[in-house]
Amino acid sequence: MYDFPLIFRIPQPHTSRTPMALTREQIESIAALARLELSAAELPVYQTSLSSILEFVGALERADTASVTPMAHPLPGLSQRLRPDEVTEQDHHAEYQQNAPQTAAGLYLVPKVIE
């Protein structure tokens, strides 16, 4: 029932004149990975707009970044701060579950996963 792919891979189109243009199959595959249901009417809209976005961001190719380290944090020299491994939070599950669509006995309910 689960279809989680081991690698998030989107199929390469067999023939593609412009490398940026996405096929309908690729859009379906992206939507499946992103867990988004798209209507038949939405597919071509995203096919056009995602293709044009990829073409637009394709401008990055022109930048010479041969010796540049990818930026990992917006502030230079800073990285993720760690805190001491101490319990600081209380149990709030009853409060949090008030926002849940369906719960029972303190558990979140979803459709049956295991047959």
Binding site: R9, I30, V57, L60, L75, H92, A100
Partner: protein
């Protein structure tokens, strides 16, 4: 006495302490303005009248007892992506239409502690993704200067509310320009602080390496006061910076003489509307007359900031918005067949078109085989842009340019082509990519529409930006102009 809504945040705080008016009077006066304009401007998603009046009454008791804080009794509004305990937080999305946060965002808690009274939650682009406030599930916000036009986005509700004097100040957030761009299009003052200056705890996340909370007010002095109460280290946000918060109000009077101002060469390009350029050039003369030294600086990689942003921001958005699964909170579809159907339909129904577009763009650029070409490449170019700013700040104290290429545009004018919409943020995105503070101040009009001037400084230079803007506002009166019909 001037009408209450003509007095800014600082003046209202002082007036309350001097007991010239009560917090309940203020809340009533501003709530009346909010409710009267809701049908036209649509600036609010929730108006919390009863809570506001009871908080205002409590503020009046505190003021009577002489125990108030810096903002005790001052009415404000929060952008509807700051979590507010007991008051719904929608983030402009159907996905969170019924979401009531069990806790306050740190910004909300800090402003509450300072005594501010929340009047409501402002409209915004869905999940802060948009530059025109047209992607909101709750309908577009209208620009108070001309209701056929957009107020900018994503903090369009906060900006329209402050411009129309429905509140003297509002919180906002800026991921690619979402504070500065609507501030410019609505003729008010907007400050995006340095990344890490204001806690992101309890802000619904869009792009975590870019998101930063800030303020929208009518003047730099008011922004200084509000920021001082909002900023500071928060152990709940792992990217919050442990660094003392200066007294921005006390530092407002720093003289402008000798300030080295760099004109951003790349910002005065062919995309800049001639009327906007004219207003910026005139404003620069004012800075010069106040003693600033102008020179030109070039940031050669800056023109790539929009393409970098539209890889990095969607990538982070696709990860952040994976939490909306229809299981723990948020929208759930009817009668799911199985778990996968539950995920796909809940998300397909709960998210609007632009949010889905960005989730899918992000999913694509992070997928196997594309990660290096898009995401890592963008993070490398981001490093180049950041280095450009560092180089510029070796020779100038701040850089100045336009906030937006054009004044406000018509509702519907740019919705069909996402790239055209994305290019609205061409001058603002650079500061987000480099984590820098940026501020927009009104500097005149193109026809009937306000024009914004942007000042960007090095990390943690908020005090400098605010004092420069304060000096400019001491020499000009653009920030005191109020749209017709709201005076």
């Amino acid at each position: 006495m001037r009408e209450l809504h003509h007095i800014g945040l600082t003046g209202l705080a002082a007036g309350l302490r001097a007991r010239r008016f009560s917090s309940v009077e203020l809340a009533e006066a501003f709530l009346k303005r909010i409710e009267a304009s809701q049908g036209t401007l649509n600036a609010f998603i929730s108006v919390t009248r009863a809570q506001a009046l009871s908080d205002a009454a409590a503020a009046d008791r505190a003021l009577a007892a002489g125990s108030g804080g810096a903002l005790t009794g001052v009415p404000i509004a929060h952008k509807d992506l700051f979590c507010t305990a007991g008051v719904r937080t929608t983030c402009g999305s159907r996905m969170l239409d019924n979401f009531v946060s069990p806790y306050d965002a740190t910004v909300v808690a800090k402003l509450k502690r300072a005594g501010a009274v929340m009047l409501g939650k402002t409209n915004m682009d869905e999940f802060a993704m948009g530059s025109s406030n047209e992607t909101s599930y709750y309908g577009p916000v209208r620009n108070p200067w001309d209701q056929r036009l957009v107020p900018g986005g994503s903090s369009g509700g906060s900006a329209a509310a402050v411009a129309a004097r429905l509140v003297p100040g509002a919180t906002a957030t800026d991921t690619g320009g979402s504070i500065r761009q609507p501030a410019a299009l609505c003729g008010i003052t907007g400050l995006k602080p340095t990344y890490g200056r204001v806690s992101r705890y309890g802000m619904v996340a869009f792009a975590s390496s870019l998101d930063q909370g800030g303020v929208l007010t009518t003047s730099a002095a008011d922004a200084a006061l509000m920021l001082r109460e909002m900023a500071g280290f928060d152990p709940h946000d792992s990217t919050s910076v442990e660094r003392e918060v200066p007294d921005y109000v006390a530092e407002l009077g720093a003289p402008l003489g000798g300030l080295r101002v760099g004109l951003l060469k790349e910002f005065f390009d062919k995309g800049l509307d001639p009327a906007n350029e004219q207003r910026i050039r005139e404003a620069l003369k004012v800075f010069e007359s106040l003693g600033a030294q102008l020179s030109e600086v070039s940031l050669p990689n800056l023109p790539l900031s929009v393409p970098v942003y539209y890889v990095v921001a969607p990538a982070e958005c696709s990860s952040n918005l994976a939490r909306f699964d229809g299981v723990r909170y948020g929208h759930r579809c009817e009668n799911p067949r199985d778990l996968l159907d539950l995920y796909r339909r809940s998300r397909g129904e709960g998210f609007g078109a632009e949010v889905k577009r960005r989730i899918m763009t992000g999913t694509y650029v992070l997928s196997a085989g594309y990660y290096d070409a898009y995401y890592l490449k963008a993070q490398r170019v981001r490093q180049l842009i950041s280095a450009d700013f560092t180089r510029a700040f070796a020779s100038v104290d701040v850089v100045i340019g336009p906030t937006t290429p054009t004044p406000a545009f018509a509702i519907g004018a740019k919705t069909s082509d996402p790239i055209t919409m994305y290019l609205n943020d061409i001058y603002t995105i650079g500061a987000n990519l480099a984590g820098l503070p940026g501020l927009s101040v009104p500097c005149g009009f193109a026809g009937e529409l306000p024009v914004g001037l942007q000042i960007v400084g090095p990390h943690f230079s908020e005090a400098r930006l605010l004092s420069a803007a304060h000096a400019f506002q001491g020499a000009t009166d653009w920030h005191t102009r109020i749209p017709k019909g709201f005076a």
